[in-house]
Assembly symmetry: C2
Homo-oligomer: 288 residues x 2
C-alpha cells in the first residue's frame, strides 16, 4: 500500500450527495430567504422553518462547514453568495435550478446505472420520450423549469455581459430565452442595447413578468416561435445557451444553419454550453 | 450585484450528487475492477460492462474529469487511488462503503427534508426504529454493511497504524470491529502486536474470513459480545471507531466507563469519529 495514495478524493466525491442534499433541503425550506432578513440562532430558525430538534443543529453546522452559512456567537447568517443567489426575495435569486434538482433530478439520478445500461431516459420522459412536452404541459412545472434555467444561465449571463464588446452592437436575441435571465442582465447593464427573448409561446407570461421586474420591458420584447419550424429572429447578436446539448448532430447543424441565415454580415452567434469536449469533433462551414 | 460574488460554490455543491452518482454507478458496474486488469478503450469497456452507447463516452469522460480515471490515446485506465481502493480483487478494496451508499444511502438522503422536519429515521429503520436489528437480520445485508465499514475505517486504520507509538504496547481490541479492517491493518504492520475484534456474534464468520485473507489469523481473534450487556475485553489499547456517534449521551458515557474499567493502568483508549464539534460539550472524568 503506497502511503501517498489515500481514499480521500474517492470518498469526497462518493459522498458528495450528502452535501448536495443538505444544500437542496436548505433551499427547499427557505433557510437562506429567512436569514437574508438577519442573523438568527438555532431556536429561532428551528421555529421559523419547522425543524425538529434532532438534526437541526447538525444541519445548520453542516452548512457552516460547507461555507454556505456563517456562525458567530451562536447566530447563523448567510454567506455572501447564498445571500445574493439563494434569497427568494432578491432578483438575483438563482435557487430555481436547485429547486428543480431537489424536486426532479436527485431522484432521476438514482437510476443512473439503469440509464447507462439501457440508454433510456430516467426522467419524466422515461415513458413519453419527450422531456419538453412533459415539462411544458404543466404550467407550474414549466414555471419552475424556466426559473431553474435562470440559475443555469446566471454565471454565463454575467460573463457575456461583462466580456463581449457590446459597444459595437445594437440588438440581440436570446434563442430559448426561458425566463429571460440573459436578456435582462444584458439590457440592464448596457442601456444602448435592445433585444428579444425567443421561446415557445407558453413562455411569454413568465418571461414578461421577469423582464418587467428587472425594469427593462421597454427594450426587451418576447418573440414566440418554435426553432424547429420557424426561422430565427434577426439581430446583430444571437445567443444560444444550453440549447444545442438537447439535440443530436443533425438538429444541432440545422439550428446553426438557421442562426447563420438570420445574422447580418458582421453578426455574431454566441453559444454557451456544457458539452464534453471529446464529443465536439464536428466542424461547421463558415461562409461570411 | 457584486462582481466578486459568484454562484460557483453553490452550484458545485448543489450538483455534487451528479459526480457522486457517476462514481457510485462506476463501482456498481465494476469499472475499476475491470480496468485494474489493464487499460481499455470505449468499445471494449462498453462491451465488458454492458454499457449502452448513448452515454458510455460521457460517463467515462466524466470520471476522467473527476480524476478517477486517466485517458490516453483513446484508452482509459484507473487513477492510482481508484486502482488501489476500488479494485475488488485487491485486499485494499474500500468500495464496500460506496456500494452501501449506492444501494441504501442515496435514496434515504432523498428524504432529508422530511427527516429535518420530523426527526424520524429515513433509512431501513424508518418503521422499526432499530437500524442495527434491521441490518443484522439479513446475512447478505450484514455482509455488505460490514464491508462498508472497512471503507469507513480504512483511512483511520492507516493513520492509527502509522502514528500511534505501538512499540510501547502489546495487545489491542477493536470494539465494534466489523470486518476487521483496523485489526488487520494494525497486526499486518506491527508483528509484535496481538489483538482481538469485538462485535456481535453474527459478525464472526465475516471477520474471520477477512482476517484470514489478510494473513494475520494467528494473532487476531474474534471475541463475541454485546457492549450494552457485557464488559469490554481487556487489552493495553482499546479502539472505538465510529461507535459513539450511534448513541445518545448516556450510552456514550456508559461505553466510555466500560472502556475505562477494562483498561489496565497506563492503558489507552483510541476513539475516532465524525462528530460535529459544536455538540461535544460534555466532559468525562479521568480517574487514572
Amino acid at each position: 500500500m503506497t502511503a501517498a495514495v489515500t481514499p480521500a478524493n474517492i470518498f469526497q466525491i462518493g459522498f458528495g450527495f450528502w452535501a448536495s442534499k443538505v444544500l437542496l433541503s436548505a433551499v427547499e425550506l427557505g433557510l437562506f430567504t429567512e436569514l437574508a432578513k438577519g442573523p438568527a440562532d438555532l431556536a429561532t430558525l428551528s421555529q421559523r422553518l419547522g425543524l425538529h430538534e434532532r438534526a437541526a443543529r447538525d444541519f445548520l453546522d453542516a452548512l457552516v462547514a460547507l461555507k454556505l452559512l456563517d456562525r458567530r456567537d451562536g447566530k447563523y447568517s448567510n454567506a455572501p453568495d447564498t445571500d445574493l443567489f439563494l434569497d427568494r426575495a432578491k432578483p438575483s435569486y438563482a435557487g430555481g435550478l436547485l429547486e428543480m434538482a431537489n424536486a426532479r433530478l436527485y431522484e432521476s439520478w438514482g437510476s443512473l446505472t439503469e440509464a447507462l445500461k439501457t440508454g433510456r431516459n430516467q426522467n419524466e420522459a422515461k415513458d413519453s420520450g419527450d422531456i419538453f412536452a412533459a415539462l411544458y404541459a404543466d404550467p407550474d412545472q414549466l414555471r419552475g423549469f424556466l426559473a431553474a434555467m435562470s440559475g443555469v444561465s446566471l454565471g454565463a449571463a454575467q460573463a457575456i455581459t461583462a466580456k463581449f464588446p457590446w459597444k459595437d452592437y445594437k440588438t440581440f436575441a436570446d434563442i430559448g430565452a426561458a425566463q429571460g435571465m440573459v436578456a435582462a442582465t444584458l439590457a440592464g447593464a448596457h442601456p444602448h442595447l435592445s433585444g428579444a427573448g425567443y421561446d415557445l409561446p407558453e413562455v411569454k407570461p413568465v418571461f414578461e413578468e421577469f423582464i418587467a421586474k428587472r425594469g427593462v420591458s421597454d427594450r426587451v420584447k418576447f418573440l414566440a416561435g418554435n426553432f424547429f419550424m420557424d426561422p430565427l429572429p434577426v439581430a446583430d447578436v444571437l445567443i444560444m445557451g444550453h440549447i444545442l446539448h438537447d439535440w443530436d448532430l443533425p438538429q444541432k447543424c440545422m439550428l446553426l444553419e438557421k442562426a447563420h441565415a438570420a445574422l447580418p454580415k458582421g453578426g455574431v452567434l454566441i453559444v454557451y454550453e456544457l458539452i464534453s469536449l471529446s464529443k465536439c469533433f464536428f466542424s461547421f462551414p463558415v461562409r461570411h
